[in-house]
């Protein structure tokens, strides 16, 4: 029970996010209106994705330094959860874009960057599945994971800032700091980021333990 305090924290944070996020007062802004509540769901997805992919890269580096099956499994599961967060981020973003920008997909640099980022990680999964031998698969996909992450950084953080974008925080558009001068949004936003990220970590934790057990069963059969 002592080691599981963070799981309880996750549940509490997410319940808090959903309940307060849906019910509390939000600033009345033109165009955004009530969709501003999506801030608690869309934005944390991207924060969570970046953090979880970072976990994946860290475990890939750990694998290259000290090859063990555990590091490989965690890197793989983290990449998969990162993809899940990315897909959810894109879906919630598209929904939001429909209400505020008028179109699901408006060829915005942020949207395109996100789609390409997902393609990179789908390629990672394809690469993994094309090896039969386990050690080779682990090492080479670790190499690609690190390489792809290095290519993802300019894609997500540098390119959108150079081009005009509808997305807040780019191309002369104010970031979200300009909107929530009253701190009521922050009060829910930061717990939301923490809660969703912890949920991702929880999924990785469960799935990698399951995968390790499965490997052990295969070895004993």
């Amino acid at each position: 029970m002592k080691k599981n305090w963070w799981k309880i924290l996750t549940v509490l944070l997410l319940v808090f996010t959903v309940a307060v996020g849906m019910l509390s007062d939000v600033p009345r802004l033109a165009i955004l209106n009530e969709t501003i509540r999506n801030l608690y769901f869309h934005v944390p997805m991207w924060f969570g994705m970046i953090l979880i992919l970072l976990v994946s890269v860290v475990y890939s580096i750990k694998y290259l330094r000290k090859p063990s099956i555990k590091n490989d499994i965690i890197a793989h599961e983290a990449a998969k959860v990162g993809i899940l967060f990315g897909v959810l981020g894109i879906v919630t973003g598209m929904e939001w874009a429909k209400f505020t920008w008028g179109e699901y997909w408006s060829n915005d640099p942020k949207q395109n960057g996100a789609a390409i980022g997902l393609l990179i990680y789908f390629a990672y999964l394809v690469l993994r599945s094309s090896f039969a031998e386990q050690q080779q698969r682990a090492r080479i996909s670790a190499v690609y994971n690190i390489f792809a992450f290095a290519a993802l950084i300019p894609l997500l953080f540098i390119l959108p800032r150079l081009t005009d974008s509808l997305h807040p925080g780019n191309g002369g558009n104010p970031g979200f700091n300009a909107y929530d001068l009253d701190s009521s949004l922050r009060l829910v936003f930061y717990p939301a980021v923490l809660g969703w990220t912890l949920l991702g970590v929880w999924i990785i934790n469960v799935k990698s333990r399951l995968e390790l057990l499965r490997q052990r069963i295969y070895e004993n059969v």
């Binding site: 393609l119 394809v126 094309s130 080779q136 090492r139 540098i158």
Partner: protein, 222 residues
């Protein structure tokens, strides 16, 4: 020591290329037939393509050419030769030599492609030196990122499909910058307008070379 290795390995690559003329002639034919296919399928007389279309088509042709040209860089080496290299040179030497060799190859191919393309489809470029600079940066950028990817793909089973799948997403940021920069050159904008793109491209290249330099030894071991 590393420098000497790189020089020797590059000499070897150029020598092999000169003897076989396999990759180079093949790619030359690939470029010219692709350009010709584009010309025929658009069915136009010269100078009838709009500037953005001309530009995008040019870079797409170059992208496919480079993927095909560079995919060979590790696949054509046979097993015995790789084992021999493994025992006498450092992996860093190999990756640097391959990158430099591919950059030279891509530069030559890209220039030939540009000349032929401009000849067949018309040449709307206003600031030619700037456009050539973007071709130079493009050749180096494609070579750096695709060399590492081809190393990764050559280890897998269905490497030619994998090459495309792995490389396209990684190369897109570079491609976007290049298209923007060459568009500026085509419109004859001030050169200072392209400075941002130029610096970003150089930065991306630096990141990719550094990461390849660090990671290649792990790839090489298998």
């Amino acid at each position: 020591m590393l420098f000497k290795e790189v020089i020797y390995l590059m000499q070897k690559d150029f020598l092999l290329e000169w003897r076989q003329k396999y990759a180079f002639n093949g790619m030359l034919l690939y470029v010219s037939s692709t350009v010709f296919v584009c010309y025929l399928s658009f069915g136009l007389r010269s100078n009838a393509l709009q500037v953005p279309v001309w530009n995008a088509l040019f870079w797409i042709i170059l992208l496919f050419t480079s993927v095909n040209a560079i995919a060979k860089s590790f696949m054509q080496e046979n097993r015995g030769r790789l084992l021999y290299f493994y025992s006498i040179v450092s992996p860093q030497g190999i990756i640097l030599a391959k990158i430099l060799y591919n950059a030279c190859l891509m530069l030559v191919l890209a220039l030939i492609c540009f000349v032929f393309y401009a000849f067949v489809l018309g040449n709307p470029v206003e600031d030619i030196p700037m456009f050539l600079l973007s071709i130079l940066l493009g050749a180096i950028g494609f070579a750096t990122s695709l060399t590492m990817i081809s190393g990764i793909a050559s280890k897998a089973a269905n490497s030619s499909t994998l090459m495309a799948v792995l490389s396209f997403p990684v190369i897109v940021p570079m491609l976007l910058m290049l298209i923007k920069m060459s568009k500026n050159a085509m419109d004859g904008l001030e050169r200072a307008a392209s400075l941002d793109e130029l610096l970003t491209l150089l930065a991306i290249n630096m990141i990719v070379v550094t990461v390849s330099y660090i990671l290649f030894p792990y790839l090489w071991r298998s």
